[in-house]
């Protein structure tokens, strides 16, 4: 695995911490956009032959994950006029601490899985699992609906990193990306309706339905 790919993956891990650690929703979305761009250029360092498919994948990933979805989220943020603080259930220090533990565990777990010799030296598997975990943390510890969406995006990014290990067979990447995009689009519409109905994007308000 070329060292550049590993450097990008380390940057990806750092953005995980940044997204979980920032108190500002706008910066969190910027973090997600940065992750999308990093994932966009990553395939260039996995596959050395510049095929049409490679170019299409790079362009589609960077455009959808790096530009389109963050733009949609930014627009949602502007439209709803909410305060731009994250408001976590769990404090920032605690979340970052959990994220660090998760990253360490991901490194240990990846070491125990049987991997082909090439993948063992690279950081793909641990980076994927760690990103997945930090996305899950973001999803569960935040109150604002938009932070839940950014958490979900980070989780998806983790899965995408693992998918790159299977670059040769990733036949339906486009379908997956499209699904993700439509999913976020639908979430955006629901966000908009939540804002209109409740004048807030705080998911604490979504608590009428219980036993």
């Amino acid at each position: 695995m070329p060292p550049i790919a590993d450097s990008i993956l380390i940057l990806l891990l750092l953005t995980n911490f940044f997204i979980l650690g920032t108190a500002n929703l706008r910066s969190a979305i910027h973090g997600v956009a940065l992750q999308g761009l990093l994932l966009g250029v990553l395939p260039l360092f996995v596959e050395s032959h510049p095929t049409l498919r490679l170019v299409a994948l790079v362009v589609a990933t960077a455009a959808i994950k790096g530009v389109l979805i963050p733009t949609l989220l930014m627009k949602a943020l502007r439209d709803v006029h909410i305060r731009h603080e994250v408001e976590p259930y769990l404090g920032f220090i605690a979340t970052l601490f959990l994220c660090a533990i998760g990253t360490a565990l991901a490194l240990l777990f990846a070491d125990r899985l049987p991997l082909s010799a090439i993948d063992r030296t690279g950081l793909f598997v641990p980076a994927s699992l760690a990103t997945l975990f930090s996305g899950f943390l973001g999803l569960t510890t935040r109150r604002k609906a938009i932070s839940q969406v950014t958490g979900y995006l980070v989780l998806e990014n983790g899965i995408y990193v693992f998918g790159l290990l299977l670059y040769q067979s990733m036949v339906v990447e486009v379908g997956v990306l499209l699904d993700l995009f439509v999913g976020i689009f639908v979430m955006g519409i629901v966000l908009n309706h939540i804002q209109r109905e409740f004048s807030s994007l705080d998911t604490e308000r979504l608590s009428r339905l219980r036993e």
Partner: protein, 476 residues
């Protein structure tokens, strides 16, 4: 011919979106549904394997699921004509478009022989149902939709990771990262065990979330409680059946890879846990639509329990898939009528449904007896088959727990259902606005007739289909 099973609903989706008349759109949905059912019957009768492709092809399991979906959708589409006429104040363009898209994507799930196609189709059904859930456009349905969307998306994301794990295992073991079911099953012995196990856990959690197995069921009561009855029926009988099919495909691979014992162990635990959770929340339940949601959790539990027992349990689970879908159709549609007539789904407001709505309430009561496993209805046969399979395999503790939970659920569900149908209806200040028209009752009666048929006499060809499907999974 099989390609039309996808093309017709998708063409209908487009037509429903473009059609400018609200009054005509439900008829379009019904016409597409009827065409789909005819096409499905012809495909199954002719033994047509489907498209000339490795990726999209019908096997016995796919045909079985196709039959269930197409029948249930046709019943629901006919009911929709009456329902949407009642809700004429609401634009139905998005609703009808999403309905037909749902039909197209569930058919694609049945046809898919490639794990990624299956995943894409399941994700698409998630999005279509999110739109359907939001039909009422009030705060409560908004909350339900948001929870469903977030929990469902995370579940489906984990299923994607499990899919990728399996592909990685295939690359290590077989040398090429194939995701075609027949390939993976045929060469299962070569797959490395740690990857198969990890992948199975992720896929079980992912598709289990879509099925609504406890403890991943938390979206279900909210979604079923707030959705229109017809959407509840499609979710509880259609989407969960598709998710179960996905799980069955994955189970088939795990079993072929020599991880059958591991997989079945997990399925038994999830099955019994789902039944126990459902039982706990059904006793004393004051909301009859949430009651049906927990009943769905219970029956998803029975399905995976049957697979977990193995052998004859697999046939029993597949038979129960058919029975559950048809009975859920009866229950949700009848409950929808009662909800409409009383404008409430809480026991405080709803009593004496038998007096006000004799047909719907009678069907609701019959649906209750059917789903809890009383003769002569279909679920009686399949629930009994799960029990005998457990006894045959000497799983006495499992069998005992199963029986106890079924009994608790019968009592818990019965007290709520009886409170709804019996007694004297409250005064209706606005007069009777809801009338039982043929469109609102005949589809339910048809569904109940099928449930009775499955209990008294299973047609030869359905039985053959079930046996073929069970054999694919190593059952009998």
């Amino acid at each position: 011919m099989a390609s039309y099973l996808i093309i017709v609903p998708l063409a209908g989706t487009l037509a429903a979106f473009l059609l400018p008349w609200d009054r005509l759109r439900p008829w379009l949905v019904a016409a597409v549904a009827a065409t789909h059912l005819v096409l499905a019957a012809m495909t199954i009768a002719s033994g047509d394997a489907g498209l000339d492709s490795e990726w999209l092809r019908f096997d016995a399991l796919g045909r079985l699921v196709l039959l269930i979906i197409s029948t249930l959708f046709c019943i629901c589409a006919l009911y929709c004509i009456g329902y949407l006429r009642l809700r004429a104040e609401r634009p139905n363009r998005v609703f009808c478009t999403a309905l037909l898209f749902f039909l197209g994507m569930t058919s694609l799930v049945a046809l898919a022989q490639h794990l990624t196609i299956l995943w894409v189709a399941m994700e698409a059904t998630t999005l279509a149902t999110a739109v359907l859930l939001y039909f009422n456009q009030n705060r409560r349905s908004l909350e339900a939709t948001w929870k469903y969307l977030m929990i469902g998306s995370v579940g489906i994301a984990l299923a994607l990771l499990g899919t990728l794990f399996l592909a990685y295992g295939a690359r290590l073991g077989i040398g090429e990262p194939t995701l075609l079911f027949p390939d993976l099953v045929r060469r299962g012995a070569q797959l490395p065990a740690p990857w198969v196990r990890t992948a199975f856990v992720f896929l079980l959690v992912g598709y289990g979330t879509k099925m609504g197995l406890a403890p991943l069921h938390t979206w279900k009561p909210d979604a079923y409680g707030e959705a229109p009855g017809v959407v509840g029926a499609l979710l509880a009988g259609g989407m969960t059946t598709c998710a179960f099919l996905a799980l069955l495909r994955v189970y088939g691979i795990a079993a072929a890879a020599g991880q059958g014992v591991f997989a079945r162990g997990l399925l038994v635990v999830f099955g019994l846990l789902s039944m126990a959770t459902a039982a706990a929340f059904m006793v004393g339940q004051r909301d009859f639509k949430r009651l049906l949601a927990y009943s769905s959790v219970e029956h998803m539990g029975i399905l995976v329990l049957g697979i977990g027992i193995g052998g004859a349990g697999i046939f029993a689970a597949l038979l129960h898939t058919v029975n559950n879908a048809l009975t859920k159709g009866v229950l949700f549609l009848a409950a929808g009528n009662i909800h409409r007539a009383f404008k409430s789904k809480r026991l405080e407001d709803v009593t004496g449904a038998l007096r006000r709505l004799p047909v719907s309430a009678g069907l609701f009561l019959a649906g209750f007896f059917a789903i809890t496993g009383s003769p002569p209805f279909g679920p009686f046969v399949s629930e009994l088959s799960v029990l005998t399979a457990a006894m045959d395999h000497r799983r006495y503790i499992v069998a005992a727990l199963y029986l106890i939970l079924l009994a608790v659920i019968f009592i818990g569900m019965g007290s709520t259902v009886l409170a709804v149908v019996q007694g004297v209806p409250p005064e209706d200040p606005e007069g009777r606005t809801f009338r039982e028209s043929p469109f609102k009752t005949l589809p339910i009666i048809a569904s109940l007739a099928l449930v009775v048929m499955m209990g008294v006499w299973i047609p030869e060809w359905i039985s053959t289909l079930l046996h073929d499907a069970a054999r694919l999974l190593g059952g009998s």
